[in-house]
């Protein structure tokens, strides 16, 4: 199978869906001749033209709102926000419009829109361009939230997101764009709401998503040399959440470490822990559940400090060793 980057996988998903379905179009800042801030949309304006690859001014509230309107009128917009931090300026459009219209109209209209956005830190982009805000959207019924960790997942999940009749928040972590992975040539989709066992093991479950999945796999490799078999569950979709996969894994291993890049306090990991505690897996727990996430701090600009705040392999390994 061929290897492509995460950014290429995202581009392929968009392009293939735009070729397949004339109602799919793409909108955002600098996505045309500039190829997008991370080079994701390279070549798309040449193929699809300015009608379907629409460059917008710096006006997030405006163009997310335009996306909601277009979606209500039967289009399937993909709206790119350059940085997920900018979602804060279009909260009303996302939370009060995109998430609500289908319900408040009794299904008369729907908002089949995907908001794709670059999230996470590790790039030295400082406090306003490095956040992981996925948990904020998980709390809003009407939104689906996806954070893929590999090129394969990114492509399959984005295609499902575009075809979904609800608003999907699709978070792409910046440091993943250049990672490579195998992706088949043929068309495929991955259903939203399905976790993936990235590595099987019997001694401990790491439940993670996004970039921390790769870190967790590296930790699992290290511990495997000591005879400890760690299972790594990539939840992939935060909402809807595949609780069954999490519970089944913890029932098997009896130990859980929950990992994400977002700030640990108030983070989505708490929801995962509660899914475990409020299930039959509770009776199989043989150690406290550990959580690993960013420190309770804005992401510092100073690279050394940023590294300290964000979770890495060391912190994951330490948490694992505390309970395995």
């Amino acid at each position: 199978m061929r290897e492509i980057t995460y950014a290429e996988a995202v581009r392929e998903a968009m392009s293939e869906e735009m070729r397949r379905d004339g109602t799919v179009f793409f909108m955002g800042e600098d996505i045309g001749v500039y190829n997008g801030a991370f080079g994701v949309s390279k070549g798309m304006i040449q193929e699809f033209g300015e009608e379907r690859v629409r460059e917008t001014p710096i006006s997030e509230t405006g163009f997310v709102g335009a996306g909601v309107g277009a979606a209500m009128m039967g289009m399937r917009p993909i709206v790119e926000l350059m940085f997920s931090d900018f979602m804060a300026v279009c909260y009303d459009q996302i939370i009060n419009e995109a998430a609500k219209q289908r319900f408040m109209s009794g299904g008369a209209v729907k908002v089949p829109m995907v908001i794709r956005t670059a999230s996470g830190g590790g790039t030295g982009a400082a406090a306003q361009h490095s956040q992981s805000l996925e948990q904020m959207y998980c709390h809003v019924p009407g939104l689906k939230v996806v954070v893929p960790s590999t090129p394969y997942d990114a492509k399959g999940l984005l295609k499902s997101a575009i075809r979904d009749d609800n608003c999907v928040i699709f978070l792409e972590q910046k440091l993943l764009y250049r990672t490579k992975g195998t992706v088949p040539d043929e068309d495929y989709t991955i259903p939203l709401g399905k976790a993936d066992v990235k590595r099987e093991g019997r001694d401990l479950s790491i439940i993670a998503y996004g970039r921390t999945v790769q870190m967790s796999l590296a930790v699992a490799d290290r511990l495997a040399k000591e005879g400890k078999e760690i299972e790594v569950i990539d939840i992939r979709t935060l909402s809807p959440l595949d609780k069954d996969a999490i519970i089944a894994s913890v029932k098997k291993t009896g130990k859980a470490v929950v990992v994400h890049e977002a700030v640990k306090f108030g983070g989505f990991g708490g929801e995962i822990v509660s899914a475990i505690a409020d299930s039959e897996a509770f009776y199989r727990l043989d150690a406290p559940i550990k959580r690993v996430g960013a420190l309770f701090s804005p992401i510092p600009f100073n690279p050394a400090l940023e590294k300290m705040v964000l979770p890495g392999e060391e912190r994951i390994e330490k948490a694992v060793r505390e309970i395995i």
Binding site: L285, D286, A287
Partner: protein
């Protein structure tokens, strides 16, 4: 005022005894006369009752220790009561385990490296353990008390329980008892075994569960989810009761000779014949003469005439009722019918019946005699067309040739489906069963 627990002097020659185990945990309540310790003397193991009512405050001797008679090995008293200072002149053991060194078990945790005994770190009676450790302890019948704490969590973990389960089985239990205990969430260590060598049996677990249930029921009403078996019974009973125009007619048989024959047949036998065995055999023979009873309702207007004489025998379980089937009962000698019923009923109680072992009956026999029932109206076990009830054997005075004689009588109510048969043929069949039972040799030949 605290009371001493002493190594008892059981017998003139007894000078010391070995403490096998404590039957109570520190902080646990104990009634006067309730077994508290298990001791061993001259190769006799016995349980020693508590001398007073109260809470076990301290254990001054550890399990496996040999102690001179009359020496203090523990204290019983009020909750939280301080134990008196050394009083015996014997060497006072190390500080009693009762007093927790720290307030919370968690704080005991950082004392890493050494594996502390749970009882030592725990406050009165409480052993910190992970949920899975507790689950395994209940399942395997292992007591958490005394197991090493994982210093990282200050709690007993699954590994310690599994180790303990491997090395010793102090709270031996039958596999079935362990299974039920795990399902009921009961700790085997808290259940006193009545089986061989104190083994906890299914009945012990159930008795404990039911005593707990009755305690709870006395206090307040409870809404309890029906078991799967209960739901099945409910469905079947409603179906049978509402769909079948049922008639119950009773026949009373003189079983004086049958009772005598059974007593004779059972002389010197280990596996005794039951009255049910004889009745099933008699019913099987009678069915051969009355095939019109062996029918069931087919599709539409059809009636299914059954060929094989498969007789269902109702077995009462704690959780409900099940009807295993003795296949081709007419072709089996009494000996084999008896063995089949014993095997089926035994496995029914253990929940080990295979589905085809309780399917395919053409008539059901339900014996309530052992409970002293003298009359009842059984409900048909669908798709059977009839069910034969068996009541208790009663002594009755009868006139025989102008003389009053004592006879043994037994009522047999049969409920039948009036759609499929009428009163007369049903009565004829009942009459045949009655004649067989009244002339029991005819059952056997």
């Amino acid at each position: 005022m605290a009371t001493e627990v002493i190594m008892p002097k059981n017998g003139m020659s007894m000078e010391e005894g070995k403490l096998i185990r404590w039957l109570k945990e520190i902080g646990e309540h104990v009634d006067k006369g309730e077994p508290l310790i298990e001791i061993e003397t001259d190769k006799v193991t016995m349980e020693e009752p508590a001398a007073a009512e109260g809470y076990l405050l301290a254990k001054l001797a550890s399990e496996g220790e040999t102690i001179p008679v009359l020496e203090t090995i523990g204290w019983i008293g009020a909750k939280g009561e301080r134990i008196p200072a050394a009083k015996t002149d014997g060497p006072q053991a190390a500080p009693p385990q009762a007093v927790p060194q720290q307030a919370a078990p968690r704080q005991a945790a950082p004392v890493a490296g050494t594996s502390q005994a749970a009882a030592a770190a725990a406050p009165l009676g409480y052993v910190p353990a992970t949920p899975y450790a507790k689950f395994l302890a209940a399942e395997k019948g292992v007591s958490l008390a005394g197991l090493p704490l994982d210093p990282r969590f200050g709690a007993v973990t699954a590994a310690a329980v599994l180790d303990a389960a491997k090395t010793a089985a102090p709270f031996a239990a039958t596999p079935l008892a362990a299974k039920i205990a795990a399902a009921e969430g009961a700790a085997l260590s808290e259940i006193k075994g009545s089986g061989h060598a104190g083994k906890v049996t299914r009945d012990d677990v159930l008795a404990r569960a039911s005593s707990r249930a009755s305690e709870a029921a006395l206090k307040e009403d409870a809404v309890i989810q029906m078991s799967g078996m209960r739901k099945t019974i409910m469905r079947n009973m409603i179906q049978a009761h509402t769909q079948i125009p049922a008639v119950t007619q009773e026949v009373r048989a003189d079983v004086t000779e049958l009772v005598a024959l059974r007593a004779k047949a059972n002389e010197g036998r280990e596996d005794k014949f039951t009255l049910t065995d004889f009745i099933v055999k008699a019913v099987a023979k009678a069915l051969r003469r009355h095939p019109e009873i062996m029918v069931s309702l087919g599709e539409g207007d059809a009636v299914i005439q059954h060929a094989r004489i498969n007789i269902g025998v109702a077995v009462a379980l704690d959780e409900g009722l099940i009807v295993p089937v003795v296949k081709d009962a007419d072709m089996l000698p009494l000996e084999e019918i008896s063995a089949a019923i014993r095997d089926l009923a035994g496995r029914a109680r253990e929940g080990k019946l295979l589905p085809d072992e309780y399917a395919g009956s053409v008539l059901t026999v339900t014996n309530m005699g052992m409970f002293g029932v003298t009359s009842f109206t059984p409900i048909i076990n669908m798709p059977n067309a009839a069910i034969l009830g068996v009541c208790a054997v009663e002594d009755e005075l009868c006139l025989a040739g102008g003389n009053v004689t004592a006879r043994k009588k037994m009522t047999m109510p049969m409920t039948f489906d009036h759609r499929l048969m009428d009163g007369a043929p049903a009565a004829k069949f009942q009459g045949t069963v009655k004649r067989f039972l009244e002339n029991p040799v005819s059952i056997l030949v």
